[in-house]
Every structure is written in C-alpha cells, then in structure tokens.
Symmetry: C2
Subunit: 338 residues, 2 copies
C-alpha cells in the first residue's frame, strides 16, 4: 500500500467519527508494517475518548511495530488533554516514520507533535501530495473553528431542478426522494446543531431530529424568531416534544453574526441551516456560508419559493461562486397527472 | 467481444452521425468474425449516403465474412430508397447471424428486414438485453417522428445552481463555462433547427449558428414573434446576417402546437429550444417537451429570471417528473467581489 492509498484510507476512517467527535476534529490513522503491508486502522470515535493513533495501535504488538509507518490525517497532538499526548505515546514505540496530513492548526502547538517524534529518532513528515484539499475537508469545521473562532456554517437545500424549495402555497413534501432524505439524517449528525427560521417551524411543524439507524444522538436546534411567536405556541410544536428543553434554542436577535457569536459561546461549533428561503438568502448574501449541501430532485415545480429569492445581485460578475464545476445532465420528460 | 459490448460500440458509432443524417435515424453497426473478434465498425454518415451496415461491410472480404455476426442498432432496411436495401445486401453474404437493436418503427415494414435475412438462411434476432433504453435514445427523434408524425422537441437550458437563466436586468453572459458552451454547439448540430422567442433575439442579439470545429453545417432557426417586431428591425440583428434568408423562419402564430405542425411540414423534424423563460415554460406546461438538456453552472444568482417562471402547479403531486435520479453535490462557497 503506497502513501496516497494509506492516506485515503485514513481519511475514510476519519469520517466514521463524524457524529460524535465535535468539537474535536475527525481524525483517521493507518499503520503500515516495515514492508508496506497494512497492519491496522483506527479513528477518533468520540469526544473525550481515544485518539485515532491510539485506536490504530491498540491491536498491535511491539514486534509488529518495528519499522512501521504511521499515517495520520492530522499532526499527532503534543499536549496532554482529555487523553495523553499521542506524539509522546508514539515516541516510545519502535516505529520508523510518521506522516501526518495537516499541521495542527493551533499556532501555539503547530509542529510540536512532529518535534517530539524527531527528538525520539522517528522521522516525522507533513504529507505533501494531491489529497491536501480532501484532508482539509476531512476536518473542515475544526480548522474553521481554530482559525477564526467562529461557527462553521453549512447549508442543506432540497430543491427541484428549477431551484424551488416549495410551491407558493408552502407545500414541500417531498421534493427529494428516499435516499436523499436518508443522507440528510447523516448530515444532521455531523453538525452540532440545526438552524431554521420560524416560518419553517410554523409551516412544516418538523421534528428536526436524527432518524438514522446506527446513530443515537440527541441533536440541538436553533430557531430564529424575531417575532416571539414560536414560544407562545410551544405546546403545538413537535420540536418541543421531540427534543429536551435545553436542546432547543430560540433566538430573537435579528442579526445573524450576533446569533452565531451567541451560539458559539454556548459551545456550538457547527450548524446545518435547513431553511427556509429567507434564512438561506440571508446567510448567503452576508457571506456566512462555508459549505453547501445541495439535493436536487429530478422534478420541475415552476412558480414557487426559491432558496435565493432575497439575494439581489446587480451584475452577473457579482455572482456567488460555489467550488464545483459545471454539470450537464440530459433527461426525458414525463408529465404526471396535473 | 460479447453481444452487449458490440451493441454498445454500435451505439457509440451511431452517435457519430448526429449532425448530418436527419430525417434518417442515427444507426451504427459492428461486425464480429466467426470467433467473436472485432472485424469492423460503421455508421450512417449523411442523409442519402450509405447506411451503417454498408459502411461496416465495405472494408471486409467475402472470406472474412464467413460465419460473421452483424450487430446493428436498428433493423436493416427492407426497402429500396435512396440507397439499396440493406437486408438484401446482407442476405447475399456468407454471414451467420444479424442482431438488431430495435425493430423498424414503421409498422408497414417492421420485421420485413428480418424476414429477408431468414429467407436467405441467416439467423436474425432482435436484441433483448439491458441496452434497450439506450438504443431507443440513439435514434429517439426518428422514432418520435415515425410514431407520431410530430416534431421532436428538446430544451437546452443553461442555469445557475438556483435555477436562474438571467438576472432581472436580462444579463446572462456567461452563466455556464467554456466546456458547456462547446457542448451546446454539438447539440445544435444534432437537431434540425433552433427555436427561440423574440425576447431572446432582442435582448441577446445572438447568432445561433454552429461554431464547432469539425462540424460544417448551416442550421435553421425558428423565431416566435407574435408582435412582428423582429422583421421590422431585421437589419440590426446578427441572426439575419449569419444565416441564409431561407434558414430563418419567423412565426407570428401564438399557438405552439400549430407552429410545430407548420415547421414539420417545412421538413423540420427536431428542434432545440434555447429560450427564453416564457418559451421554456410554455413548452413544458403544454407537455410538448421530449428531452431536457440542462447545464448547471456552479454559481448562485439569487433574484432573476427562471426558466419555469410561467409554470403554475396547484400541488406538489402535479410536479413534472424528469427521468433522471436525485443528485447530491456538496461544495464550498466563495464570495467574489460584489
């Protein structure tokens, strides 16, 4: 197994930790034997529990580790925190080399993990290959938090081919199919909280919990409601039945940046914004979005509510660029009964 | 090479004829030797010239054809037309078997090609595998024309991620990137004519010709203009400079079905509708579209002109289904200078 293959496998491992590691980063680790053979894999499973390196090491003997190569998506931690320092743990082993995908983003400890290893006679190298962008994405919320001390904002939009999230009458069940709806529950688990506007609550009366077998997680919900309507009719709303009171945060602040600061102080490090159109538009036009998850159903809805209706650009040159390329699809049309 | 591989190759060959065979179907042919080895390929290149079977046969010797298997996307023609009957030509050869993808859609001659072959002691079989839908698509305009004696209508839409084809001020250059625009020229060549509404002409002053190296073709353009404005300002419009007078048809008829009948009688068998929003909406809501070519640029435009703004559906259950599946993309956002 070569380095790129091992790093790709480590990234895949890292993602398995998605629902439970926040505010820690998702990290994966792969250990190769002295002949390049795969010895073990591991990932950080849950905040406060063992780091990826320790998970990968735990099934291996001292003999197996002689001359081994440890590949890990993020620089091994130098400091003792909830768990012992991974760099120090590795330094005591007969391994030959550690390759880490990214340097620790915290400038105060960046490079210290590598130093500890080198001091123990172990090669320690930052990965410099083609997977760099993917490595950043593997723990993008963590990197964002570390670099800017801000909430990482992702948007989840379920639209028709023509960009509508509902008909003018508010009807939106179901725009996307079963598989997309399953994926939404995985996404919900990946972020610390879901954020929605009050209209989404009033029109759809959603539960906004995680309904995905294998993911047992109580998630948080943030509701933006300047009007104060939501709290008055609490008893009629599913969201207050499904979630514990402390997990539903209702904010009446009209300024999004202030709301984000408030929830950051509450310990929320990443949110998935689930609508509606006004909320999407506000986040986008204020430049507050880091990632867009776009589900497009193969249907045409015509007139209705779009997810960008409140964004007003003067010229095409002011367009908002999203980092994937043009797509081209071709399909036949069938008109269902109207 | 097995049958599915050969049929797939024949379909690929067929598509090479796209710009020049109308009103004939696109047809491709593959010939395998008695041991299943690939002997040759061929496709119908141009209306009035040799059919695919003849193209595939022309480089082969009588000896090579002993026990050969001819795979062709459409049943070999039984009748003498502009060219001699392919079934009769094949019947004189020492081939073992002919497999054809589709039966001739003309009920008057369907199965006759196969009969001629069987009478000569050659096995003749309709293909029954997984590629049936693809085979129909290979010559879908022809099948539609034969079955319904109507113009085949395709839509080409270039939209932003949020379903916009222009800003409210009409600005639309360029929504999609270079590659998509190249593909548009290929599409133009595939259809007998381009159809646009008068607003597209007045706002964009487009040429609507085929600018693709390797495709030398004078295409036709149909302009819908109830108002009569277009003809009054002919001299200022590029379209009348770029195209020969007989290739630009201006219709003032307000009824789309009537327009389609009129141009069918003029020999136009397929059109590519290129906008604008009103025209797209009318074609879709009247159930007149057979194929949608949708180009989506990775940009957000917000308020603007959609391609379905005039479609008004009462309920989600009335949605217009397009035959490709849900898509999910994820991307990061960057805000260009605004």
């Amino acid at each position: 197994m070569n380095l790129d293959q091992a790093m790709r496998l480590a990234m895949k491992e890292a993602l398995k930790g998605a629902p439970f590691v926040s505010p820690n980063p998702r990290v994966g680790c792969v250990i190769l034997g002295s002949k390049g053979e795969l010895l073990s894999t591991g990932y950080h499973k849950k905040f406060g529990e063992a780091h990826a390196e320790v998970e990968a090491l735990k099934s291996l003997t001292f003999d197996q580790l002689k001359g081994a190569h440890v590949i890990v998506t993020l620089e091994p931690c130098a400091h003792e925190g909830k768990t012992p320092s991974c760099a120090q743990a590795l330094a005591r082993l007969p391994i030959k080399k550690v390759t880490f995908g990214l340097v620790d983003p915290n400038p105060l400890v960046a490079g210290q993990g590598a130093q500890i290893l080198r001091a123990a006679g172990i090669e320690a190298e930052e990965y410099q290959g083609d997977l760099k962008v993917g490595l950043e994405e593997t723990c993008e919320e963590f990197l964002w938090n570390q670099r800017y001390q801000k909430v990482f904002v992702a948007l989840k939009v379920a639209q028709s081919l023509d960009g509508k999230i509902a008909l003018a009458n508010g009807e939106s069940k179901w725009i996307t199919g079963h598989e997309s709806r399953q994926k939404v529950h995985e996404l919900r688990a990946q972020y610390d909280a879901i954020l929605v506007g009050k209209n989404t609550i009033l029109i759809d009366n959603p539960s906004l919990n995680i309904r995905q077998p294998g993911i047992q997680k109580e998630n948080k919900v943030v509701i933006l409601d300047r009007s104060g309507e939501i709290l008055k009719i609490k008893d009629q709303l599913k969201i207050f039945q499904v979630h514990k009171p402390e997990n539903v945060i209702v904010s009446s602040c009209p300024d999004l940046e202030t709301v984000l600061k408030e929830i950051y102080h509450l310990g929320i490090r990443s949110i998935l914004v689930e609508g509606g159109g006004q909320i999407y538009s506000s986040f986008i036009s204020q430049g507050l979005v880091q990632r867009l998850h776009l589900f497009t159903a193969p249907i045409i809805l015509g007139q209705g509510i779009g997810w960008t209706d409140k964004i007003n650009l003067p010229h095409i040159k002011n367009k908002i660029q999203v980092d994937f390329t043009d797509s081209y699809v071709t399909g036949t049309l069938s008109v269902t009964k109207r």
